[in-house]
């Protein structure tokens, strides 16, 4: 299998980047998309060129470290998967594949396809936790949590923090990410004591980081590898209003 990659190359945060073209032969349909890039990198090394920088770690769709724009879509042509789960069988022999980094002002490019997503960590820092020290826990079954509540918390706790929601949003909004964490903790009894504070502080940090507002286009939930629903954003704003009124 043979494809033409058009890939964003950028030395570092302070330089301008540009798309470069690479014709690659010797690929197979079984290869993952990242393995195809690995293959290209080996060819570049042998040609004495610098390798393309892109991120990955677990390569099984759970760590959230990989993520690029492929032919104009976050994580490639399919709904709800990560870049590492994309395989070359999704492309045809002779295809041209355009690969770009996440596009969002709050995710500056560090090099080539690697962006800095530390803004997500800083949002988490503002209350994405339950304040309880190690050693202070009551017996686990003393806190009864109905299955539906636990299941709905799990649905949003599943967020892998890849940033596809931000990258695909025309406003570069981080509302889906932020709402996932807030709704996970605020809907559980353990998270109630800090619920009002959490929703206010995390959304405040989200704005400080320069993420845009949500205008409910639903683009994010299509790309989210965990299929987290956009209704979470509405729920977050309802919680925010409640916190402002009663918090």
């Amino acid at each position: 299998m043979k494809v033409t990659f058009k890939i964003w190359r950028q030395e570092n945060q302070n330089t301008k980047g540009a798309i470069e073209e690479y014709k690659v032969d010797g690929l197979t349909e079984d290869m993952s998309f990242l393995e195809a890039l690995d293959h290209l990198n080996e060819l570049l090394v042998l040609k004495n060129e610098k390798v393309i920088a892109y991120e990955y770690d677990c390569r099984e769709g759970i760590c959230g470290q990989c993520g690029v724009f492929i032919n104009g879509r976050a994580h490639g042509p399919h709904d709800n998967i990560t870049t590492c789960q994309l395989h070359m069988r999704s492309f045809k022999d002779g295809d041209t594949i355009i690969v770009e980094p996440w596009r969002a002002a709050s995710f500056p490019v560090l090099k080539d396809l690697i962006v800095d997503r530390s803004a997500f960590d800083r949002i988490m820092e503002q209350g994405g936790y339950i304040t309880a020290k190690t050693g202070t826990a009551p017996e686990a079954n003393a806190i009864l949590i109905p299955k539906e509540v636990s299941d709905s918390a799990m649905n949003v706790a599943a967020c892998i923090g890849c940033g596809a929601c931000v990258a695909t949003c025309k406003n570069a909004s981080a509302a889906l990410f932020t709402s996932a964490k807030i709704n996970h903790l605020n809907n559980l009894p353990q998270g109630h004591p800090e619920a009002h504070k959490r929703v206010q502080e995390m959304t405040y940090q989200m704005e400080l980081e320069g993420f845009g507002s949500c205008s409910f286009t639903g683009a994010c939930e299509v790309e989210c590898p965990e299929g987290i629903s956009i209704t979470n954003i509405a729920e977050m704003y309802a919680k925010y209003t409640k916190a402002k009124l009663f918090g």
Binding site: N12, L44, Y56, D57, M124, P146, K147, M154, H184
Partner: protein, 636 residues
């Protein structure tokens, strides 16, 4: 050097309490003056960082990923064990201890293993408090499931994403303490050397992976929480960045390496399909609760799985191990699969897989129940292979997974270098020669949250008397120069082969000779082959780019250089141990029907290797079984 495990006196049930009663305390005003470095931000590293910070220590935490939330604990799927006996099925701390000790084929310390079981129940309390959405019954209580090697239900889980949920809980606590300004986090930072001053661990050299700058950090104690090293096989269930470099540098600075060859080969991963493959994705062991493993009875059968009649199928685990069946422990399940594949019954394109079939479970329980239990695993399988496992069986294959071996640690989790601790998968402690499923998240968490924060005081109390460490010391100077020398050397070889080429070569040798089944001749050959790969690497590797920039190729090269040396030690260890125990199966030591033969009279010890100028010197920690009599491990 005599290895002192520092196991406390008393009955097994009292040892940990006796230890805590006698351990030194440090008053809160003094804790503030002490500084601890934690390398790694996975379940053990993040848990330790957060807890040490809560206690009042200043913590600096390092990870190579872009965020602490990526650490590979995130990928553990099936669950975490705890002796809660919520299912009223006869579980107890003792039974969990015994299962773990037996699962490890009596090659771990009784006291450590007992402590693991003892602290498991409060750990579940802890994680529930942190907001981990464990699976629950409609009435609100926690649910359990079964795992391999055990006849009770003691595994807690959050769908097939338990590791992710526990890691995110630890990560959130870490960020809570970052906000409190008690932890300073250094992502995209890789430890490249350990600083030992007057025999004590006092700092690390770190490469900033964005700028390439080498930086020095000093502390009163260093904690390594850097995970497993099964990427030495290249193809493994581990994340691509997982590496053995931090523990290898520590080893070369004097920390003994225990049981390096004890590697768990996981029975249920996705098979390799091509040479270019970079990763073998794990499919959780929990699938064996409802899935049945089989191969066609007829060799080289090319029919589709669903066309093969029931009577033409060999459910080989149920046949060989009727009492544990599909839930036989991992080492046994992997070897049984290999035996069938080698005998010509393998399935799939490369004939290197076996079937894991859910048809019976779906017929019996209904598709919805199976979806509730494993939906994310089935959807992951479909994303990767394009196959719907509700309709046809999964194809799975054994893959390198967990490192039972690691830095030798005593009961306090301290290595042979005073002030250097190793926690989680990077140490050797509780799993012996084979780890039971769902004990990995458990050990990582317990080491980080419960044990280390209790034991580190004993050492740090003495550190109060010493000078505050600084990075001006000559040892920092020397180590930084050495690291720079290694980096320059790698970049200047300018040979003809890529890093990945050498990693593939190393992986082939390791998988062939030092994985599921080993023999003297093969291991001797492997050592020579790896030495040859080492020589070729250092004369013919090609790495482009420079050292003062983000250079992923350079990162890979440095990690591989350490893996190559580690591979030699692993083979040396496997060669030395002339018995079969747990995951270590020496072909010369087996019964007529292919079961392992342990040789307690000669090998009831933990091997602990000292680095000696490119060679390795063996020390032995004899294992004393005071409370349990080692038995022949049978799952028939």
């Amino acid at each position: 050097m005599k290895l002192d495990s520092k196991t406390p006196e008393g009955r097994l049930e009292d040892k940990w309490r006796n230890y805590q009663i006698k351990a030194q305390l440090i008053n809160p005003a003094n804790k503030k003056k002490l500084n601890v470095i934690v390398v790694g931000s996975g379940l053990s590293g993040a848990g330790a960082s957060a807890t040490l910070a809560e206690l009042g220590y200043d913590v600096q935490c390092f990870c190579y990923q872009d965020s602490a939330r990526r650490a590979h604990s995130v990928a553990a799927q099936g669950g975490i064990n705890a002796a809660k006996n919520y299912q009223h099925d006869g579980d107890s701390v003792w039974r969990m201890f015994y299962d773990t000790l037996k699962g490890g084929d009596f090659r771990s310390r009784e006291a450590n293993t007992y402590r693991l079981a003892e602290l498991s129940a409060p750990l579940i309390d802890h994680f529930v408090q942190q907001g981990v959405p464990f699976a629950r019954e409609y009435g609100g209580v926690l649910v359990n499931r079964s795992f391999g090697g055990v006849q009770v239900q003691r595994t807690f889980y959050a769908r097939g994403q338990t590791g992710q949920q526990l890691l995110l809980a630890a990560y959130s606590q870490l960020y809570k303490m970052i906000r409190a300004k008690k932890v300073k986090m250094f992502p995209r930072s890789e430890m490249l050397d350990l600083i030992v001053i007057n025999g004590k661990a006092k700092g690390i050299i770190v490469r900033d992976l964005v700028t390439g700058e080498l930086k020095r950090y000093a502390a009163d104690a260093i904690v390594l929480a850097t995970g497993g090293y099964s990427r030495v096989f290249r193809l493994s269930t581990l994340a691509i960045g997982c590496n053995g470099s931090a523990i290898w540098k520590a080893h070369k600075r004097g920390a003994f390496f225990a049981a390096p060859s004890f590697t768990q080969i996981h029975p249920t991963a996705l098979p390799q399909t091509s040479e270019a493959q970079s990763k073998l994705t794990l499919m959780s062991e929990s699938l064996r609760n409802d899935g049945r493993l089989w191969v066609p009875k007829q060799k080289g059968d090319t029919r589709k799985a669903n066309d093969i009649l029931e009577k033409e199928r060999d459910y080989y685990l149920e046949r060989r191990y009727p009492s544990f069946g599909n839930l036989a422990p991992r080492d046994i399940a992997s070897r049984a699969a290999k035996e069938r594949i080698d005998a010509g019954h393998g399935v799939g394109r490369l004939k290197n897989a076996v079937y894991l079939d859910f048809r019976h479970a779906i017929d019996k329980l209904g598709i919805q129940t199976i979806k509730d239990r494993y939906e994310n695993l089935f959807s992951m399988y479909k994303k990767i292979t394009g196959i719907d496992a509700y309709k046809e069986p999964m194809q799975i294959s054994p893959a390198a997974h967990f490192s039972m071996g690691g830095l030798w640690v005593d009961y306090e989790l301290m290595t042979t270098i005073p002030g250097l601790y190793a926690i989680g998968e990077c140490n050797f402690s509780d799993h012996g020669a084979n780890r039971l499923g769902a004990n990995s998240l458990l050990q990582a968490s317990i080491d980080g949250y419960f044990i280390l924060p209790n034991t580190i005081n004993n050492y740090l109390a003495g550190a109060l008397e010493e000078d505050i460490p600084t990075t001006d010391h000559i040892e920092f100077e020397k180590a930084e120069k050495e690291v720079r020398g290694t980096i320059d050397r790698v970049l200047n070889i300018n040979g003809t082969k890529t890093v990945d080429h050498f990693h593939r070569e190393l992986g082939k040798v390791m998988w062939q000779e030092c994985a599921m089944s080993r023999n003297k001749k093969g291991l001797e050959k492997a050592i020579l082959q790896i030495k040859k790969i080492r020589d070729e690497f250092w004369s013919d590797v090609k790495v482009t780019g420079s050292s003062n920039e983000l250079n992923t190729e350079l990162e890979k090269a440095l990690r591989l250089a350490d893996f190559i040396e580690l591979g030699i030690l692993m083979c040396t260890d496997a060669l030395e141990r002339e018995e079969s125990c747990g995951a270590h199966f020496r072909e010369e030591f087996q019964t007529e029907d292919g079961e392992a033969v342990r040789v307690d009279e000669n090998y009831s010890y933990v091997s602990a290797w000292e680095y000696d100028e490119g060679d390795f010197k063996l020390h032995k920690e004899e294992l004393e079984f005071e409370f349990v009599k080692p038995s022949v491990r049978s799952y028939k």
